[in-house]
């Protein structure tokens, strides 16, 4: 985890006065990957839903029972062929940003900031109490609390699953073992769809927390520096 902390001081004559602190929370590669991933996930979900519109079901083709009618206005690509172009283009950008991110986290050791491990388990219940049952706020000792780490670790795992389920749908013959692991092509398509909704649930919660945590927190994903961290 990047833990450089700056003391921001104002000098008046001989006196110096501390006016705040700032922590370097997000290395440049992490910020790049975050925003590239955000854009590509947006495009992949939008175009994926347009692809889904071509056969909005997970049952038989004959007879076809549609699961839901997703409005075209909330989809990308205009038609199946156009949506596939977006999907098959941005999946590479999504994959690249994911690989760069994971490789960077592993080789830099920065993964400690987001990876939920057994050491974080004791911190889970106090945070649950704080978030959901008006409990007091546990003291922060690092950029992310136990629940944040849990969420980020989960969404990274979902990212991996989104790629694997997607690969099983795109190449069910060449990667027949992957499709088999998921219960066959038909199920792989359903898993891919469910993984998308799970990721959207994360994004929904993530955006709410970004709003609740305020401006300094948001800016930190742009500049890397979080002003006045709680730890």
């Amino acid at each position: 985890m990047s833990s450089t902390i700056l003391e921001i001081i104002r000098t008046k004559g001989d006196e110096t006065e501390s006016v705040g602190r700032a922590a370097y929370e997000h290395p440049l590669l992490v910020r790049w990957c975050h925003w590239v991933n955000a854009v590509s996930l947006f495009v992949l979900v939008g175009s994926g839903l347009q692809i889904f519109r071509a056969f909005p079901s997970f049952g038989a083709k004959i007879p076809q029972n549609d699961l839901l009618h997703w409005p075209k206005a909330f989809a990308i690509g205009g038609w199946l062929g156009g949506a596939l172009q977006w999907h098959l283009t941005f999946m590479w950008i999504y994959l690249a940003s994911g690989l760069v991110y994971v490789a960077y986290q592993i080789f830099s050791g920065n993964y400690g900031q987001v990876l939920f491990t057994h050491r974080d388990i004791p911190g889970v219940w106090p945070m649950v109490k704080h978030y959901f049952f008006r409990g007091g706020k546990p003291p922060a000792t690092e950029p992310y609390n136990a629940l944040q780490k849990h969420a980020y670790t989960t969404v990274i795992a979902l990212g991996v699953l989104s790629v694997l389920t997607g690969l099983a749908i795109w190449k069910p013959v060449q990667f027949s073992w992957l499709a088999w692991l998921m219960g066959g092509f038909h199920w792989a398509r359903l898993w891919h769809f469910l993984v998308m909704w799970a990721m959207l649930a994360f994004v929904f919660g993530h955006l709410i927390m970004v709003v609740l945590h305020g401006w300094n927190n948001f800016v930190s994903m742009l500049t890397g520096w979080k002003k006045d961290p709680e730890y």
Binding site: M1, S2, S3, T4, I5, L6, E7, I8, I9, R10, T11, T16, V19, A22, A23, Y24, L28, R31, W32, W35, V36, V39, S40, V43, I51, F52, A54, F55, S57, K61, I62, Q64, G81, G82, L84, Q85, W86, L88, T89, F90, W92, S108, G109, N110, G112, L115, T141, K171, P172, V173, Q174, S176, F185, H186, R189, L222, T223, G224, W225, Y231
Partner: protein, 279 residues
């Protein structure tokens, strides 16, 4: 585990950069992930902090380059490139010796639930009595081939999955001659790149040679052990379990072995679908 006390990198010359501090942090992290003790490594004035922040913000700016996908003029070209890259990767992933999974008869989709997909009409009115396949291009024996000549080749039956680009899939039973046997019979130059196919309903398709030579690629004249019905492409269609549904052309009328596709890849491909679409 107690973390080791961390050294301040700024103390030596007072001008350490965030990157240098970060590097120091990484070294400390590798010894202990549960790093709790943090120190202030440097003091800056507000103006300096603003400068640092601005500089870091600018470094993220290249991500805005993705905005080029929002520019109408270049969008189509970029997406075409992306699709082309996917096709290139697909061709690399294709393995000639790798077979598509075949299924037991019990797994078959009932024949009346096997969808009939056309771009135009279910039955283009092929004259089955006088039907021939017109064969031309890079091969030794061009001409008109009758169905009996295809049927004289060794017959293969396979229960394979048919996957539509729309997302649905069925398992069907297909019977016919290996495309590779037919190509051998007509003396096709198998070092050529493509086979183009014309259909009775003006549909057209193409296959890369590697896929055409795949042992499961059939010139199919039977489905579910019965001669092809008109809606399913009588008298001859493709069954290519390593390809997406729209490649399984029906009502075949002509075949050309060629090295160039001269801008015509397939009916759907020419409207923006993937050219290779191997499964």
């Amino acid at each position: 585990m107690e973390p080791e006390p961390r050294k301040s990198v700024a103390s030596e010359d007072g001008t350490a950069t965030p990157a240098a501090n970060e590097a120091a942090g990484e070294r400390a992290d590798s010894s202990s992930l549960a790093l709790k003790g943090r120190e202030v490594v440097r003091s800056v004035d507000p103006a300096k902090f603003s400068q640092i922040s601005r500089r870091e913000l600018l470094k993220v700016a290249p991500v805005l380059g993705l905005g080029i996908f929002a520019v109408p003029k270049v969008q189509q070209a970029l997406l075409k490139k992306g699709l082309g890259f996917s096709d290139w990767a697909s061709a690399r992933l294709f393995r000639r010796g790798h077979h598509a999974v075949t299924y037991a008869d019990a797994d078959l989709t009932p024949v009346d639930q096997f969808p009939i997909n056309d771009y135009d009409v279910d039955d283009p009115g092929v004259n089955l009595e006088n039907w021939t396949l017109t064969v031309s291009g890079a091969l030794q024996k061009p001409g008109e081939y009758r169905l009996e000549q295809v049927q004289a080749l060794p017959k293969f039956r396979q229960n394979t999955r048919h996957v539509c680009v729309e997302g649905w899939d069925v398992i069907g039973r297909f019977g016919g001659a290996r495309f590779s046997d037919f190509l051998n019979m007509i003396g096709a130059d198998t070092s050529a790149s493509y086979i183009t196919l014309a259909c009775a309903d003006d549909y057209y398709e193409s296959l890369d040679m590697a896929t055409a030579l795949h042992p499961q690629t059939l010139l199919c004249y039977e489905m579910y052990d019965r001669p092809l019905t008109r809606e399913h492409g009588a008298p001859l269609r493709l069954s290519v379990p390593t390809k997406i549904g729209y490649k399984q052309a029906k009502y075949l009328t002509a075949l050309t072995v060629t090295n160039v596709l001269s801008g015509k890849v397939g009916y759907w491909e020419d409207q923006g679908y993937s050219s290779f679409y191997g499964l």
